[in-house]
């Protein structure tokens, strides 16, 4: 009997420990970094020649947050402008450089061309209290679905929302129906159903915050995230 208690206590303790472990993303649980040696890092710094290059690309939209480059000699360069670069040409050596757009295009065309399409978000709007698209979104939906279907192996998250008219239960149900409707339409377009995840938020996450009971067309929506 004592033994059973011991075993149960042990299991409980370990499960609790495991759960806490799992809740901390910073724990290196997936890296299995029992491979403690990084051969490159331990290599005597004078052994091999080096020729590493890092160049920032212009960002299509949004500001550049930059990259910090640290070399094996303890030097640090912050790159924060388009085409700013760092060149490591020897052990412990590192220089700032500026790389031309034409040179990037010439030397890096194949790697840049292999970048997957940028993840995207689309919004479709619905008629009040219904799981039917507005006429505007009805016209838009063809283009949106075509763009999603054109992606190689699209991974899709569909999230349904409502405005603040009606009680929580009604809106939870409506938002779920809207999301499921969009999923069904995507599947009709030939997108594999197991590539589509569906979620619904009722009236909890309005795009435009309103008081209870307010009819707001911008909140009657389904968000489609695709990557």
């Amino acid at each position: 009997m004592k033994r059973v208690v011991l075993v149960l206590a042990t299991v409980a303790a370990m499960v609790a420990g495991c759960a806490q472990f799992a809740s901390q993303p910073s724990a290196a649980r997936w890296s299995k970094s029992q491979q403690p040696i990084e051969p490159e890092a331990l290599r005597p710094s004078d052994r091999s020649p080096r020729n590493d290059l890092i160049v920032l690309l212009p960002k299509p939209n949004g500001k550049i947050g930059g990259v910090v480059v640290r070399n094996d000699g303890g030097k640090e360069i912050v790159l924060d402008k388009a085409y700013a670069g760092a060149h490591i040409d020897g052990p412990g050596e590192m220089q700032s450089i500026t790389y031309g757009a034409d040179r990037v295009a010439r030397e890096f065309s194949s790697v840049v061309a292999a970048l997957p399409g940028r993840p995207a978000t689309f919004l479709l709007y619905f008629l009040e209290g219904k799981d039917e698209l507005t006429p505007d979104s009805e016209r838009e939906v063809e283009r949106v679905f075509a763009e999603i279907a054109a992606r190689p192996y699209p991974e899709i998250l569909v999230i349904g929302h409502t405005d603040a008219v009606g009680n929580a239960e009604f809106n939870d149900h409506l938002s779920r129906q809207r999301a499921q409707r969009v999923r069904a339409d995507l599947v009709k377009r030939g997108i594999a159903v197991d590539h589509i995840e569906v979620s619904s938020r009722g009236k909890r996450e309005p795009l435009v915050p309103t008081s209870e009971g307010v009819s707001e067309p911008k909140n009657r929506r389904v968000e489609i995230n695709v990557r």
Binding site: R3, L6, V7, T10, V11, M14, G17, C18, F21, A22, P25, S26, A27, A28, R29, W30, S31, K32, S33, E40, R43, S48, P49, R50, N51, D52, I54, V55, L56, L57, P58, K59, I64, G65, G66, V67, V68, V69, R70, N71, D72, L79, I88, P91, M94, V104, F108, S110, V111, V112, A114, L115, P116, G117, R118, R151, P152, Y153, E155, R227
Partner: protein, 158 residues
């Protein structure tokens, strides 16, 4: 049966449970880190010492090495919307990928052993700058949110 043997059996049971739980901790949450979206020419995944083909749709797991040949290039999307691509004659190791879809916290470590790499940072970096790191033989990069390219020339004996 003596008291001692019961005790020994308890220790054995304890040990087995400990090992099982440890295994669960390291493996049960190891979901897919990313997926291949572009695959041209010679592209292979090395997993647990075995080479396998890397077509569009193939899953990328932590600790995978992605290798391209002279005519190869590959593009990968990760769960936090980060994008990586590698050009010809490249070798890329996904050393670590942890991502919490609710808080967007995570850690992302990649090593470019040789070849070329293009990086577009995602939600991990937006949440915690420099939680994405790219390593090369001579440097380590902390990503604060940007798009950039990295080239590593294969070390030549001299």
């Amino acid at each position: 049966m003596t008291k001692v043997s019961t005790f020994q059996r308890d220790i054995l049971v304890f040990g087995v449970l400990l090992l099982a739980t440890a295994w669960t901790c390291t493996h049960a949450f190891a979901g897919d880190a990313g997926r291949i979206k572009v695959s041209k020419g010679d592209v292979q995944i090395e997993r647990n010492g075995k080479l396998m083909p890397a077509p569009v749709g193939a899953v990328i797991e932590v600790e995978d090495t992605v290798k391209t040949g002279a005519d190869g290039s590959v593009g990968i999307t990760f769960q936090d919307n980060s994008l990586l691509s590698a050009g010809p004659n490249s070798e890329l190791v996904i050393e670590r990928f942890v991502f919490d879809t609710t808080t967007h916290q995570g850690e992302f470590d990649t090593r470019l052993k040789k070849g070329t790499l293009a990086v577009v940072s995602g939600k991990i970096v937006k949440q915690s700058p420099e939680a994405m790191r790219i390593k090369t033989p001579a440097a380590i990069m902390g990503v604060r949110g940007t798009e950039f390219i990295v080239k590593v020339d294969e070390p030549t004996a001299n």
